[in-house]
């Protein structure tokens, strides 16, 4: 066991996969000499050379399309979005090409690629650097969306994503890179399509992902003292959703609270709510409750920013109310 920071867990995943498979390469802005904006690829170019850790010009749509072409012809690119928000410039290449091309080509081509990088609301980064792209991309067929939240799952999931033959958007959170955890010395790979049961409980099912998992666990500390017993599930796979795990939990608790950092309109929670209503309506004792970010550009001011995203006390209150409905 070695104590590892999340960004280093990601680095280990990339390093191990590059050592294992020569067709794996990294490209993006400042991934080489600079080591990546959050040091995920630090010094890898020294080990693997400049073609395998390719510093690209600032040309998001073109280097993303280039990765699609490389993937179609048998390589396994990992794109680092310096900030995931910048990949809005590559929306076309991610949606039309990475996402849809296998289908449109009638199965002629596979696109094994990972698009990863930092996103989410950081500390006063302003609206453009505080984006949650998962909501925008969840409507694109053919893409898988994965969000990591701990050093352990970051490493195991990224390794799986690199090995997967589909295009995967891999979401990291700017405020989680310095989380520490003891990681196993032996190699491990985690399934991309399985949600993680973070805390077993019986009162209510809390569905969350990425940084909000940690807000939820902060709230759970308070709730435990008050005698509540919530079940916490980290979705991990935002698309497709793991309805085996989600369904099993809801059949037990009959209550659902979704805690997410993306905006409420058209967010992951919106899709989740609709799907739960479609599949498990009869199991519910109360309407699904969504705690999401406000539908506004994330403000710079710290107080306003805090008001924009969900805070632990709101989660505590939501659980109290939801459980009270039972009586």
């Amino acid at each position: 066991m070695a104590e590892t920071l999340l960004f280093n867990a990601l680095r280990e995943a990339i390093d191990e996969e590059m050592a294992r498979d020569p067709s794996v390469f990294v490209l993006g802005e400042d991934v080489g000499h600079y080591g990546g904006s959050y040091k995920v690829t630090k010094d890898l170019y020294k080990k693997y050379g400049e073609l395998r850790v390719l510093d690209t010009p600032i040309a998001e749509n073109s280097f993303t399309g280039m990765a699609v072409g490389a993937a179609m012809t048998g390589l396994r690119p990992i794109i680092e979005g310096m900030n995931m928000g910048f990949l809005l410039l590559a929306f076309n290449q991610i949606a039309n090409n990475a996402g849809m091309l296998r289908y449109t080509s009638g199965g002629n081509y596979k696109i094994p690629m990972v698009i990863r990088g930092p996103g989410g609301v950081g500390r006063q980064l302003g609206a453009e650097h505080s984006q949650r792209l998962e909501a925008y991309f969840q409507g694109v067929p053919g893409l898988k969306l994965v969000a990591c939240s701990t050093p352990y799952n970051a490493k195991g999931l990224l390794k799986a994503a690199i090995r997967d033959d589909n295009p995967i958007l891999f979401f990291e959170h700017v405020l989680l890179y310095n989380l520490k955890e003891n990681l196993p010395d032996e190699e491990y790979v985690l399934p991309l399509d399985k949600a993680e049961l973070v805390r077993k409980g019986k009162d209510v099912t809390i569905l969350t992902y990425s940084r909000m998992r940690h807000h939820v666990m902060a709230a759970v500390k308070t709730l435990e003292k008050e005698g509540y017993d919530p079940e916490v599930i980290d979705l991990i796979s935002l698309k497709p959703l793991d309805f085996d795990t989600i369904g099993e939990s809801i059949r037990k608790t009959h209550r659902v609270i979704i805690v997410e950092e993306c905006m409420k309109s058209g967010g992951i929670g919106a899709e989740l709510t609709a799907s739960i209503n479609d599949r498990l309506f009869d199991e519910l004792d109360a309407p699904v409750l969504r705690l999401s970010s406000q539908d506004i550009p994330t403000p710079y001011n710290g107080t306003l920013e805090n008001l924009t995203i969900v805070q632990p006390p709101q989660i505590v209150e939501a659980v109290q109310k939801m459980v009270a409905l039972r009586v």
């Binding site: 390469f25 073609l51 040309a59 073109s62 399309g65 699609v68 490389a70 012809t73 997967d164 589909n166």
Partner: protein
């Protein structure tokens, strides 16, 4: 009508054998007849969507692709992709079946006219959004270099050709990819099919520097203009560019001055282009030009060319028959191919 650009001439053209000449002729006729049949089938309600025909531009597809190793080198197209697909060797049957939306189509009926693909023939695809194929082609070219230099595969000397129009050269992806191709010395050829129009936008109204080939120089890349109605000229220029790319000496931009003989798509009323302009270019028909050359040089005679025409007409008729008789995609396979696991 703007003053026409002077037709560029080459100091000399690459020598050509009788067999090569006939192959070029056959390839161009295949493209022409195929497209004529598409128009007929479209108006008869056999194919749908936006269908962009290539009539008039055949010398570009044939001149470039027949200078490559079709089926081994990579080709990336646009929505105007039927003839590129035929030139790389996708059978007319499978292209026609795709346009009919049939299960036997080269994209299994999922793609349609603007999305022809064939991994087997190294056709990277038809792309319906302008410009998006250029980076994909760049990726294939990067892959060749990567295989050679990183994976030690000495046989990875494939060249990639990216085809696109004049209008597309005003898009960022054009400039971004020229930059990266030159920066990393990638084995790619950028083939601009300058047919003077982007739907209804005249080239001169869209760009501050209409001579597209000149844009290569700022990237330190050779840029060449060529008569896109002369397959032998295109071929000469393409052969040089392919050789340079294959030798690891980097990319080339080729601007082919050409013209489409039909509207932008079969849905386009084609009202903006003047009669004089159309007549001028129609008189420069690339197929007739090649036929005259071959006869002139006594490499063939009218009789032999007529026999080729006849044979190609049979190929086209057979393709239509095949498409008509092919099954629809199975409705139970609606979801097939969304993910890599679906073979």
């Amino acid at each position: 009508m703007m003053q026409e650009r002077a037709i560029p001439t080459l100091p000399s053209i690459a020598p050509i054998t009788r067999e090569e000449g006939l192959r070029l002729y056959e390839d161009m006729v295949l493209g022409r007849f195929f497209e004529d049949k598409c128009a007929e089938m479209y108006y008869r309600g056999k194919m749908f969507g936006f269908v962009h025909l290539y009539n008039g531009q055949e010398a570009v597809s044939t001149g470039v692709i027949q200078s490559m190793r079709p089926g081994e080198d990579y080709v990336c197209s646009t929505y105007r992709d039927h003839v590129h697909a035929l030139s790389v060797g996708v059978p007319a049957r499978n292209v026609m079946a795709e346009l009919f939306g049939k299960a036997t189509g080269c994209s299994k009926g999922r793609g349609g006219s603007m999305h022809l693909f064939s991994a087997e023939h190294k056709l990277l695809g038809g792309y319906a959004f302008i410009g998006e194929g250029i980076p994909v082609a760049l990726g294939a070219a990067f892959q060749s270099k990567y295989r050679r230099e990183v994976m030690g595969d000495a046989s990875a000397d494939q060249v990639t050709a990216a085809f696109f129009g004049d209008g597309t050269t005003n898009n960022g992806q054009f400039f971004e990819c020229l930059n990266m191709a030159a920066l990393w010395s990638l084995p790619i050829i950028f083939v601009v099919e300058n047919n003077k129009w982007a739907i209804g936008m005249a080239h001169e109204r869209a760009t501050s520097q209409p001579e597209i080939y000149k844009k290569a120089s700022v990237f330190g890349m050779p840029g060449i203009e060529v008569d896109g109605m002369d397959v032998l000229a295109v071929r000469t220029v393409a052969q040089e560019a392919v050789a340079r790319a294959r030798a690891g000496e980097g990319p080339t931009l080729i601007e082919c001055l050409t013209y489409r003989f039909r509207g932008h798509s079969l849905a386009d009323p084609d009202e903006l282009r003047s009669k004089t302009e159309k007549e001028l270019w129609l008189a420069r028909d690339p197929i007739k030009k090649l036929a005259n050359y071959l006869i002139d040089k006594q490499l063939t005679d009218a009789e032999e060319l007529k026999a080729i025409d006849h044979h190609i007409q049979e190929v086209i008729d057979d393709a239509v028959k095949f498409a008509q008789e092919s099954p629809e995609p199975d409705a139970s396979e609606l979801y097939r191919f969304v993910f890599a696991e679906d073979e």
